[in-house]
Symmetry: C3
Subunit: 272 residues, 3 copies
Amino acid sequence: MIKKCLENVRETTPLVHNITNYVTVNDCANALLAIGGSPIMSDDIDDVKDITAICGGLNINIGTLNARTIPAMFAAGEISNKLGHPVLLDPVGAGASKLRTETAKGLVEKLKLSVIRGNISEIKALALGSNTTKGVDADTLDAVTDDTVDNAIAFAREFSRKSGAVIVITGAIDLVVDKDKAFVIRNGNAMMSKITGTGCMLSSIMTAFAVANPENITEACAAAVCAMGLAGERGYEKLGDGGNSTYRNLIIDELCNMTPEILKDGAKYEMR
Amino acid sequence: MIKKCLENVRETTPLVHNITNYVTVNDCANALLAIGGSPIMSDDIDDVKDITAICGGLNINIGTLNARTIPAMFAAGEISNKLGHPVLLDPVGAGASKLRTETAKGLVEKLKLSVIRGNISEIKALALGSNTTKGVDADTLDAVTDDTVDNAIAFAREFSRKSGAVIVITGAIDLVVDKDKAFVIRNGNAMMSKITGTGCMLSSIMTAFAVANPENITEACAAAVCAMGLAGERGYEKLGDGGNSTYRNLIIDELCNMTPEILKDGAKYEMR
Amino acid sequence: MIKKCLENVRETTPLVHNITNYVTVNDCANALLAIGGSPIMSDDIDDVKDITAICGGLNINIGTLNARTIPAMFAAGEISNKLGHPVLLDPVGAGASKLRTETAKGLVEKLKLSVIRGNISEIKALALGSNTTKGVDADTLDAVTDDTVDNAIAFAREFSRKSGAVIVITGAIDLVVDKDKAFVIRNGNAMMSKITGTGCMLSSIMTAFAVANPENITEACAAAVCAMGLAGERGYEKLGDGGNSTYRNLIIDELCNMTPEILKDGAKYEMR
């Protein structure tokens, strides 16, 4: 399944509309090209409707959101929803500022999101106050570890049921959770946290996986998480005495050179 | 001539004002430095007039145009025109949205452009509706190939006569066309399409070539196309089992290390 | 002292709020991660107050300033001042446009800046007209050389006394000057000028150094200058026949792999 998901990306070259931050946007574009998709960036209210309409899916990343781009996120999302395109939200920094938290919550509320991908604190900030956390001890969830993984899955599942989206929580252990299934994924390398944008790149390629696998969005998200983590592992093996900038290049290179067979053999996940 | 064009860039360090997209802007800056120019980026209406005045030329790229930057494009272009600086337009995504198409057309109409550089579909979107395509079967021009090259040159020539700009159409075969001359250029490597920004980088360095060779803008554009394509060829030879991110670095490196002699020996073009 | 400054960065992971340009922002983020800090980028007036409050310091870089971000710079600076966070100003292009010069001057006037870092012409543009240059022959200061270094220190010292900030002037010879002390630093490599953003990266990591060494801001700035220059030297040794894009990666890598011991051994400075 994981293998097939990447094959579908490579065979269909999904065109992904990104409304994303200017910090990591270049890496997102090159990661999308590496995995076999095609990127378009557009964030003006008068431009996004036309652009999203010619794409297969939409990746909304609020990393450097502003008064001009926020309405464009909503407008693009609404058109994508009408057209039945998958829409992914990356709520960068939700919980760190009122504007980020409220914008992300508004997007969850107003749009039909296919996927929400963030770290545990961002996802918690989104789910809090929306009555999704009852019965789940989310307050103690500071990280997804072997000890907390079942609790985290329960929390994500409730938020998935409430929001209708696949919930992807990334960290040392990654989770991909929908109302029925949960993937627990253990690919990756700790040094990935020394690079800006591994999360943003993951959201971009995950949107391509979702576009290429519309009937299996959850599996597509899991495949994207495995691919990114595996690229991190394989890039690290080649890093030698290099540092974080070279590592960034190697990770994108590995996405570029990853065959479905390599992904299948390297993916480390279990289902719960 | 091609060789002399690069020598002139290296000897004069042309300062280029870029109003460009935030996706590939860093690569554009490093490509400009690599070829021997100097980049300035500025896109606020209250800033561009002063900045463009101290530069030698202006590169307008509409890749992530917005309501704030569009008026700045016009304002900077008008000042550059008054000062007699070369102005290049890269109509990224013209034809993909109404805002892009109309903005690009407006810039063609209001400004005296020295160069317009895009892919065949962008250039077609600009030329369509402006009565430049009569007698040319542009509708069937989906790519410039050995079969369509004469037709494409005729199309570009009409648009050059109408717009007053040198028309540069890039793809597997690249064309540089003015009212009299046409360069057909065959440098490059197919993998360049796996990198975001090779077109944007080309537009940036092409502006530097135009600034440094004001009496020979057409030849300067051809030299820039050859240089970028040759950098793609030479970078690819060093790529080994690397991927698209390393390839991006190698291409900029090759621009950095390209001597006029290397360019002369590696340029593959014919005139028609 | 220089060594201890880097140890403090590594031990405290300073969180730095950057309002910076979109040209070099990715390199700034990776440089901050490399040195041991943590970057956040935010530039909307409704976002910066919350973001700056959770950070340890603020880096204001006016490289692509605009009507939307300028008020955010002032607002974030005021909050940072109230919280006692160090605030660094990088007046990119001051002197090149009225908007840049006036914005930078306004920030110097309205905010309590801990550090101002620029090249000699930017610092001169800021200091001119503010009566800080009396008795100093700043007009002839086009570069800091062995011949002009004493004059440049006197000029910087006057501006430091007037502004209250540590003044950092970078070039072939770098100066870090406060009202009492002056560091004359000779790390670096001439090829660093072929990369966009070495100055911006330095400002970003310098803010991290300032946050981690609040009692010794001047020494922290000197340590940052030495670290950046040394990374340039060490990266250059590994460059081989690479060009400026690979060089950029190597410099960030060297920041990533720099131990306090390496910095101590490689720092080349004298005090005047």
